[in-house]
């Protein structure tokens, strides 16, 4: 164990010396890696955040019915009887115009409501359906739209489903992009290590003659490739954080136009860990491929 640690300590030292000697080249490679990973990292963080937002919105699909100003007690009773007979409905709740006003006031619109001479909101019903099938919504909506007492029918929450699907699609695209650019990372590291191996043929051969084992020869390259990719991961982190910070005000403004309060966060610990592990592992993979190709046994 101690011997193993010492061997890795030595290999790390060697790798760091090589990094320093080729500081500029290493920096360039790390930058390329960082730039390549920044896009999927930012995209995934963005979509994850939006998805969690979408999930936090009530996604039980509902149909809202708004009653005409002229409708009365009789209309309400008649409709409630109809609802009871409707096999497609799971539950129904009545939202009076006063309750509706309270809800809006609680959501930060109190100022606006106060400026109005009277409550502009109608009475309404919120219908929850048994099925989540959009066709069922359309059927229910059509059925009640025809009613004389009903002013307006609104199918809620379908947009959330659509948004969800859209976000899932965006996320998939970002994952594919991460895979693609991850491959680029492997290739960049492969090439760096390949060039090193070619210029160090003599050292490798002499080391073999002096009794170096294959792991002894490999170790510094793994450290080098791993560290370079890790540095690339750090750069990607910095870029992604910067991009998210730049986008945050825009996103907040858009969210506000939908009446939502939403802010973009910087990458969280799990995402940063994932990003760094992803880049480091791919760096090690690229190194492994180069070693396998260019380090002949014995």
């Amino acid at each position: 164990m101690i011997g193993w640690l010492a061997a890795h300590g030595r290999a790390l030292g060697q790798a760091l010396r090589r990094l320093r000697r080729q500081a500029f080249g290493t920096l360039l490679s790390a930058l390329v890696i960082g730039l390549a990973l920044a896009l999927p990292a930012t995209g995934l963080a963005l979509f994850e955040r939006l998805q969690s937002l979408a999930a936090s919105v009530n996604t039980t699909p509902q149909v809202s019915l708004f009653l005409k100003e002229s409708s009365g007690r009789d209309d309400r009773n008649r409709l409630e009887r109809n609802f009871q007979a409707d096999a497609q409905l799971a539950s129904v709740s009545f939202v009076s115009r006063d309750t509706a006003r309270e809800i809006l006031a609680r959501n930060g619109l109190a100022d606006i409501l106060d400026t109005l001479p009277a409550n502009p909101l109608p009475d309404g019903f919120v219908l929850t359906l048994k099925s989540a099938d959009p066709a069922a919504f359309q059927a229910v909506a059509d059925r009640y739209r025809a009613d004389a007492a009903i002013e307006h029918v609104q199918v809620d929450s379908l947009w959330v489903q659509r948004l969800d699907a859209l976000l899932a699609f965006g996320r998939t695209v970002m994952l594919l992009l991460a895979g693609l650019l991850g491959t680029a990372l492997v290739i960049i590291t492969f090439n760096t290590i390949r060039l090193q191996l070619l210029t160090r043929q003599e050292e490798i051969e002499v080391s073999r003659i002096l009794g170096a084992t294959i792991p002894f020869i490999r170790r510094p390259y793994y450290w080098f490739g791993g560290l370079q990719a890790f540095a690339g991961g750090l750069i990607a982190w910095g870029i992604a954080d910067g991009l998210l910070a730049l986008m945050a005000p825009e996103v907040r403004r858009i969210a506000e136009t939908y009446g939502a309060i939403f802010s973009l966060h910087r990458l969280d610990l799990l995402q940063v860990t994932g990003l760094l592990a992803f880049s480091t592992l791919l760096g090690l993979a690229g190194t492994g491929l180069a070693l396998r190709r260019h380090l002949r046994a014995a």
């Binding site: 011997g3 010492a6 061997a7 030595r10 003599e202 050292e203 051969e205 002499v206 080391s207 073999r208 003659i209 002096l210 009794g211 170096a212 084992t213 294959i214 002894f216 046994a297 014995a298």
Partner: protein
């Protein structure tokens, strides 16, 4: 103890470099290997270090068949040997001292121990103050000494040198020969190939003569 049993070596391409060579090297011996260019001296020495493998026959070292060692066991065999190849193969992009430290690092010595031993080896070959220089700035004879120092830093029980006196003027060659004799005096088994066995004029020396891959003659001086 090193024993060659009917060893033949045919290189890919078909050239037969050694043909049925048998002999034994005892512990603590000084063995000279002579013969014309192309006789197979380098090949024979490389077989001991498992740099080449025999086509036929066996090379035994302390009861182990060197030719049948697994690839991952070979490094441990080589660490027990001090090797000076014909083209001494110093690393020209690093200092003399760093060249000497390399085999110690490979053997897993601590940095402090490595520095100590490298310095001692440098002194042993008479290059005490040259550690900081690049090998390229040294003369051929000095480079040869660095190669010798690199071979002895790990204090091997067996020292193998392939024509360490070639291309040196006679005085310098004699100095190098003396160096090997002094290692042998200290109990190290020494195997040296040379065009000129007369450089080594010690009493214990045994000379094997190779001609076109065949052992033709053995003499003890």
């Amino acid at each position: 103890m090193i024993e060659f049993q009917e060893v033949s070596k045919r290189y890919p391409g078909g050239h037969l470099a050694l043909a049925g060579v048998s002999f034994t090297i005892r512990h603590g011996e000084l063995l000279l290997l002579s013969g014309h260019s192309g006789a197979g001296k380098s090949t024979l020495l490389k077989l001991i270090a498992a740099i080449e493998r025999p086509t036929e026959g066996r090379v035994m070292m302390n009861g182990q068949d060197v030719g049948k060692l697994r690839a991952d066991a070979i490094p441990y065999l080589r660490r027990k040997l001090g090797l000076i190849l014909q083209d001494h193969r110093l690393l020209m992009d690093r200092s003399v001292f760093e060249n000497l430290v390399l085999p110690l690092e490979i053997a897993g010595q601590s940095a402090r121990e490595a520095r100590k031993r490298a310095q001692a080896a440098l002194e042993r070959v008479g290059l005490k103050d040259r550690g900081g220089e690049l090998p390229i700035t040294l003369s051929g004879g000095e480079q040869q000494r660095v190669a010798i120092a690199r071979a002895i830093v790990n204090r091997p029980a067996v020292l193998i040198a392939d024509e360490p006196t070639a291309h040196l003027d006679p005085d310098y060659a004699r100095d190098i020969a003396h160096l090997f004799q002094s290692f042998n005096d200290a109990g190290v088994t020494v195997i040296v190939s040379t065009h000129d066995p007369s450089l080594f004029c010690n009493a214990r020396g045994r000379t094997l003569r190779l001609a076109q891959g065949v052992l033709t003659d053995e003499e003890t001086s």
